[in-house]
Amino acid sequence: MSKEPHTNHIVSFSNQLKVWIALLLLTWLTVTIAYIDFGNLTLSIALLIAVVKSTIVLAYFMHLKFDSKILTVFLILVIVIFAVFIGLTFFDYALR
C-alpha cells in the first residue's frame, strides 16, 4: 500500500501534561481578557486565542504533528473552503 499516515509515535506523558497545562492557561487568559474592553478587537482576540488552542489540540492531542502530512494538507483544504463560504457570504452581507 501507499504511504502510511499511521505512525507509532509515542507522545510522552510529560509532554501531554505540558499541553494540557498550556490549554488551561490559555482558557484562563481568554476569560480574563474578555473582561478588558478592547472595543472591536475583543472578538478578534478571543478568536485568536481559540485558534491557538485548537492548533495545539490538533497538533498534539490529535497527532497531526506526527502523522502523515497529507492529513494536514486536507485540513488546510477544509479550512480554505470554509473560509470561502464565509468570505463570499460576507461579500453579500457586509456590502448591502
Binding site: 470561502v84 461579500f91 453579500d92 457586509a94 448591502r96
Partner: protein
C-alpha cells in the same frame, strides 16, 4: 456463465452467495459489485417514478387552464419530481452504481476501503427514499415547496415538509459515506504501480466528486436541520417574523446545491472520457488536462453558488463577483469538450450505442452549458431567472448530460456487469428516439422561457400555449424511447447471449478481468506498468 472463461474455476460474483440465500445474498452482501447493483435497481426504480411524475406534469401543462390535477397537487408533483430526481437519482446515480461497481476494479483493488460502510450507505439511501415517499401517506401530503425548500414558505406551509427535509438529510449522509469511502479507497487501495496518473479518468472524476460530496453535503445537512427545527420547535432561524433572514437560507442552500451540480455532472464526464477513448481506440487526448480540470471544476464549484440569487436582493458587488466566477467555471468544462472531440480525431471509431449516448451527451451538455452562460450573465439572468428557461437549461445539463452519461455507462459496462449482451440494433433505435424526444421536449422550454413564462406554473397565459404543447408531445416520445431502452436491457436477461471479456477492446483494467468479475475481482492483484489508455504500443 462460469464456463465462458478459459479457467472454469472462476466463479462470478453473481454466483458467489456468501452462504446466503434469496434476497439476503443481496441485502447483506458487502461486495462492492452487488452493492452497485442494489443501487442500480433502486435508482432505476426511482428514476421511473420520477419520470412518471414528470410526464404527469407535462400533461397538466399541455393546455392552459386546469387539465386534470388541482394546483396544490401539481405543486406537490413538481416537488416530488425534483426531490426524487435530484436526491434519489442524479446525485447518487453514477457514483453509487458505476463508481461502486467499477472503481475498485479500475484501480486494481478487491473492494472499497470500507465495505460495511458501503452497505450502510445503501441502507441510508433506502431509508431516505422511504422518508421521501412516506409523505404521500403521512402528514398533509407531500411537500409543495419545490426541491429547494425556500424559507419562509417551507416553514409556513402545512404540507409534510419536515419529512421531506429529513429524507434529504439522510440521503446526504448516504452520499457523504460514499464519497468518504471512495477517497480512502483511492488513497489506500491502488494496486502496486497504479500511480495517480495511471488511474483512468473515471476514477479521477470520482475522486473529485467525492471531495465535493464530503465537504459540501454537511452544509445542506445543517440547513435542512434548521428548517426542521424551525417547523418543529418554532425557533425561527430563517423566518423574518422571528428576526431571521430568508436570503441566508438561500446562501446556505446553494453553498451545497451548486457544488452538488458538479457531484451530478463530474462522474458523467468521467464516463464520457472512458467511452470516447475506448470507442475511438485512441489514447484520450489531454489526459492530464482532463484530470486536472476535474479537480478545478470541483474546487471552483464552491465559489459560484450566488448565481442562483442574482434577483434575490443580494448586494450589488456580490452579484458581480459571483457572475465573473461563474464564467470562469465554464472554462474547464469547455476544455474537456475540446479534448473529447480531439480524441475522436484520428481514431478508429466504432459507432455503437455507448458511443452514441456519449456523443449525445457532448451535444446536449454543450447546449446546457452554453445556455448556462446566458444565465450566468447578469443582465440576461435578471430576465430569465426563475423562468422555464432555467428548467430547460437544467434538464439539458442534468438529463441531457448526466442522464445520457448514465445510459452510456449502462450500455458500456452492461456486458461486463452481467456477462451477457443486449441487442445493439434496438439499443441504437432507442437512443435515437430518446435523443429526438428529448429535444422536442426541452427545447421549447427555452423558447417559452425567453418569452417570459415563470417556472413552477400550474397554469399559464395563452401566449405560452404552443411551446408547452410541443413540449408535452416531446415527453411522450421521450417516454417511449426510455421504455424501449429499458425493455431492451431487460430482454437481454431472457436471451442470455454470453458476452466476451472485452467486447469493445478497452484497455482499462475492468476489461482484463473475468466477465462477470469474480468476488475478489482479480486472481492476483496486478502490478501496473502502463497508463490506462495505451492503444498505440504495438
Amino acid at each position: 456463465m462460469t464456463e465462458n472463461n478459459s479457467t472454469a474455476s472462476h466463479i462470478s460474483y453473481l454466483e458467489e452467495t456468501g452462504g446466503r440465500s434469496g434476497i439476503f445474498k443481496w441485502i447483506l452482501s458487502t461486495d462492492h459489485k452487488r452493492i452497485g447493483l442494489l443501487y442500480l435497481y433502486s435508482i432505476a426504480t426511482f428514476f421511473i417514478v420520477g419520470a412518471a411524475l414528470g410526464v404527469m406534469m407535462r400533461l397538466e401543462l399541455m393546455n392552459p387552464g386546469q387539465q386534470f390535477v388541482k394546483p396544490s397537487t401539481y405543486n406537490s408533483l413538481f416537488t416530488l419530481h425534483g426531490v426524487i430526481m435530484i436526491f434519489l437519482f442524479i446525485i447518487p446515480g453514477i457514483p453509487a452504481v458505476f463508481g461502486n461497481f467499477m472503481l475498485p476494479i479500475l484501480i486494481g483493488a478487491k473492494d472499497v476501503a470500507f465495505p460495511r460502510v458501503n452497505l450502510l450507505s445503501w441502507y441510508l439511501y433506502v431509508i431516505g427514499a422511504i422518508f421521501a415517499l412516506s409523505t404521500l401517506v403521512f402528514g398533509n401530503g407531500p411537500a409543495d415547496t419545490g426541491w429547494t425548500f425556500y424559507a419562509p414558505y417551507s416553514v409556513n406551509t402545512e404540507t409534510n415538509v419536515s419529512m421531506s427535509v429529513m429524507a434529504a438529510f439522510v440521503l446526504g449522509f448516504s452520499s457523504i459515506l460514499t464519497g468518504l469511502n471512495f477517497i480512502v479507497t483511492i488513497h489506500r487501495m491502488r494496486a502496486p504501480g497504479m500511480t495517480w496518473f495511471k488511474m483512468p479518468l473515471f476514477a479521477w472524476s470520482l475522486y473529485a466528486t467525492a471531495w465535493i460530496q464530503l465537504l459540501a453535503t454537511p452544509v445542506i445537512g445543517i440547513t435542512l436541520l434548521m428548517i426542521f427545527a424551525e417547523r418543529l420547535l418554532g425557533v425561527g432561524l430563517f423566518d423574518p417574523s422571528l428576526g431571521g433572514d430568508p436570503i441566508l437560507y438561500q446562501h446556505m442552500f446553494w453553498i451545497y446545491s451548486h457544488p452538488a451540480v458538479y457531484v451530478m455532472v463530474l462522474p458523467a464526464m468521467g464516463v464520457i472520457s472512458e467511452v470516447v477513448s475506448t470507442f475511438s481506440q485512441r489514447k484520450i487526448y489531454g489526459y492530464k488536462a482532463i484530470a486536472y480540470s476535474s479537480l478545478a471544476i470541483a474546487f471552483i464549484g464552491y465559489f459560484v453558488w450566488g448565481h442562483h440569487m442574482f434577483t434575490s436582493g443580494m448586494s450589488g458587488p456580490a452579484r458581480i463577483i459571483f457572475s465573473i466566477l461563474t464564467f470562469l467555471v465554464a472554462i474547464p468544462s469547455a476544455v474537456k469538450v475540446f479534448n473529447w472531440i480531439a480524441t475522436l480525431y484520428g481514431g478508429s471509431i466504432n459507432v455503437k450505442a455507448p458511443l452514441l449516448y456519449a456523443l449525445g451527451f457532448i451535444f446536449l451538455f454543450m447546449i446546457g452549458g452554453l445556455t448556462g452562460l446566458i444565465l450566468g450573465a447578469l443582465a440576461t439572468d435578471v430576465h430569465l431567472h426563475d423562468t422555464v428557461f432555467v428548467v430547460g437549461h437544467f434538464h439539458y445539463v442534468m438529463f441531457g448530460g448526466t442522464g445520457f452519461a448514465f445510459m452510456a455507462a449502462i450500455h458500456y459496462w452492461f456486458p461486463k456487469m452481467y456477462g451477457i449482451n443486449y441487442n445493439m440494433k434496438r439499443a441504437t433505435s432507442a437512443f435515437w428516439t430518446i435523443f429526438f424526444g428529448f429535444n422536442v421536449m426541452y427545447f421549447p422550454m427555452m423558447v417559452v422561457g425567453v418569452m417570459g413564462m415563470p417556472r413552477r406554473y400550474f397554469d399559464y397565459l395563452p401566449e405560452f400555449h404552443i411551446p408547452n404543447f410541443i413540449s408535452t408531445i416531446g415527453s411522450w416520445i421521450l417516454s417511449v424511447g426510455l421504455l424501449m431502452m429499458i425493455g431492451n436491457l431487460i430482454a437481454a436477461f431472457r436471451k442470455r447471449k454470453k458476452a466476451v471479456d472485452n467486447p469493445w477492446n478497452g484497455k482499462t483494467l475492468e476489461w482484463s478481468v473475468n466477465t462477470p468479475p469474480t468476488l475478489l475481482n482479480f486472481d492476483e492483484i496486478p502490478t501496473i506498468t502502463k497508463g490506462p489508455y495505451e492503444y498505440h504500443e504495438q
